[in-house]
């Protein structure tokens, strides 16, 4: 356990209880003036905070692993097409209401998203084949992503009812509002398991530092590494999309912020990125809750993209000015 990880865990330990107090109703822990304070804390805010940790942690770890695997600081967990396929699954769940009236939307939507993510993982493993080359695999993943995106647009345009349409479009924007414990049970196992798999892939990602040939010469089995990436990214991103919709930029930005604080080996980046992603999402979700906005609260996915896009631009400009391409900011 490095000092960076311990610092991040300490920050999370402080931020988590504080985040529970903030919201449309502020709760003073010493003089709980609000009547149903404990219900708000336990049934609304705690599951929401735990979800932020799971989703943010998963996206952070997946982003770090993807950048390590593609040896590219601009890689993002969405590249493999797992997130778009999960979103497609969620959109398709619109029809279950029409076909199976007794289906509970609180379960069907995440379930369909998980099936979408699982399908993407299966397709990716079929594409991956035995050789385990990075370039073909990545291109195939990007094609899968754009295909899923097109099918999703098609499904949205054919939505069974205008209400369902507006609901799904809002859902896709990504948020953690009004989530409950059952969402936690959907997201947490996948996120934790996925982060563990990605941690195990760290050795192989380190070997890739000098390219695929050297990685093979160091005893890494490229097909196995690819399988670990598919499972790890699939579980973290799939379960994240299933409960929170599409939340961008965490997977891209967080590894960048964390990398200069590590020795820059991909294996050393995965856990701190998971912790920092969890922290970022926890704080961002808290801000969304607090910021006054007509007609409800700011969507988390929008808020993060609002922060993330300028960050990305600044990164590109720095790269053009000749700074190291892997996010050195010292």
């Amino acid at each position: 356990m490095t000092r960076l990880n311990l610092t991040l865990i300490a920050a999370l330990a402080i931020a988590l209880p504080l985040s529970l107090l903030a919201g449309q109703v502020w709760i003073d822990p010493f003089h709980p003036a609000v009547a149903n304070a404990s219900t708000i804390l336990m049934e609304l805010r705690l599951p929401r905070a735990v979800l932020a940790l799971c989703v943010g942690g998963g996206l952070g770890a997946a982003g770090a692993a993807m950048q390590g695997y593609l040896r590219n600081p601009l890689a993002d967990p969405g590249l493999f097409g797992i997130a778009p396929c999960a979103a497609l699954g969620a959109v398709l769940s619109l029809w279950t209401g029409a076909i199976v009236p007794w289906a509970d939307a609180a379960w069907t939507l995440p379930l369909f998203a998980l099936i979408g993510a699982g399908t993407a993982m299966a397709l990716l493993s079929l594409i991956a084949g035995r050789e385990g080359g990075v370039a073909t695999f990545t291109l195939a993943g990007m094609m899968l992503a754009s295909l899923a995106g097109a099918l999703m647009s098609l499904a949205i345009s054919l939505a069974p009812s205008p209400f369902a349409l507006s609901e799904i479009v809002t859902w896709l924007m990504g948020a953690l509002a009004d989530r409950s414990w059952h969402d936690v049970w959907i997201a947490a196992p996948g996120a934790l398991l996925g982060i563990m798999v990605l941690r195990l892939a760290g050795r192989g990602l380190d070997a890739l530092l000098l390219g695929e040939a050297v990685a093979r010469s160091l005893g890494v089995n490229p097909a196995r590494l690819q399988a670990m990436l598919i499972v790890g990214v699939g579980l973290t991103v799939g379960s994240g999309v299933a409960v929170a919709g599409i939340i961008g930029f965490v997977g891209l930005v967080v590894p960048h912020l964390v990398r200069p604080l590590t020795d820059r080996r991909p294996s050393q980046l995965i856990l701190p990125s998971a912790l920092a992603g969890a922290l970022l999402l926890l704080i961002a979700d808290c801000l969304c809750r607090v910021l006054p906005l007509a007609g409800g609260e700011l969507r988390l996915g929008i808020a993060l993209s609002l922060i993330g896009a300028p960050f990305f631009l600044a990164l590109l400009l720095r790269m053009r000015r000749g700074h190291s391409a892997d996010g050195g900011w010292g």
Binding site: G211, D263, R265, S324
Partner: protein
């Protein structure tokens, strides 16, 4: 002993048979496209097609666990791109990956030995992006040495190096061979092969054209037939230069 038996890779190698010995520096020479890098990759167990035909100490590379193979065969590709701007010491530590589960002390010692062997003590904390070409070549070789492989397979390690750095690297290869390692180097610089190698294998159109002591394998007749140029060796043995 590292041996290739009738090694064939479509369009690259046509039935190459070789027996390489430890304790000597073997140079693989040949014109562009002769299959030198392919042969080296096959010897390192990196090409699926060639693996059955290559054996180490009588065991086919295919039958070895990848990590066991990695501990026996160190592979230095032609100036690979380093993906992340790690420090010299971190990059060298990558060479220890096949030794999973080795005691931490042993790992640190191996890294230290590699750093000292290539005179990198002053550079150990330097990010690799700030190294000169010669320093970089030394660091990349140190990465392979840190893995303490029985065999050192290097693909054109002297490319883009100035005279002094090339000499340092060749001296290091010879020193490693003297400690009982097998060293196999793909070389474009025929003078370096002539002066420093113990044995030269000349590849031509995917086949072994000549194999033996440098004077014989790189004789003027071979140069004329394989490279198609009338060249003459000048100078004394050990300090020869090629004149066209």
């Amino acid at each position: 002993m590292l041996a290739a038996c009738n090694l064939t890779v479509p369009k690259r190698l046509a039935g190459v048979s070789l027996e390489l010995r430890t304790g000597e520096v073997t140079a693989i020479c040949g014109p562009n496209g002769a299959g030198k890098s392919t042969l080296l990759a096959c010897l390192a167990g990196l090409l699926d097609g060639g693996v059955d035909a290559v054996s180490i100490g009588g065991t086919a590379l295919d039958d070895l666990h990848p990590e066991e193979r990695a501990r026996l065969l160190g592979y230095l590709p032609q100036s690979p791109e380093v993906a992340w701007d790690v420090s010299v010491e971190t990059l060298i530590s990558i060479g220890r990956l096949p030794w999973r589960g080795a005691p931490a002390g042993e790992t640190a010692e191996a890294i230290e030995r590699a750093i000292i062997a290539l005179d990198l003590v002053a550079l150990r904390q330097r990010p690799v992006s700030q190294l000169s070409g010669g320093e970089r070549a030394r660091v990349l070789l140190a990465r392979v040495l840190a893995g303490e492989p029985r065999w050192l397979l290097a693909d054109e390690p002297l490319a883009n190096l100035d005279l002094a750095h090339a000499a340092t690297l060749m001296a290091r290869f010879k020193a490693e061979a003297c400690t009982g390692r097998g060293v196999v180097v793909v070389l474009h610089d025929l003078a370096a092969a002539m002066n420093h190698a113990d044995r030269v294998v000349v590849l031509h159109q995917g086949q072994v054209f000549a194999d033996g002591a440098p004077q014989a394998a790189l004789s003027e007749a071979v140069l004329a037939q394989v490279w198609g140029v009338p060249a003459r060796w000048l100078g004394e043995p050990g300090g020869r230069a090629l004149s066209l």
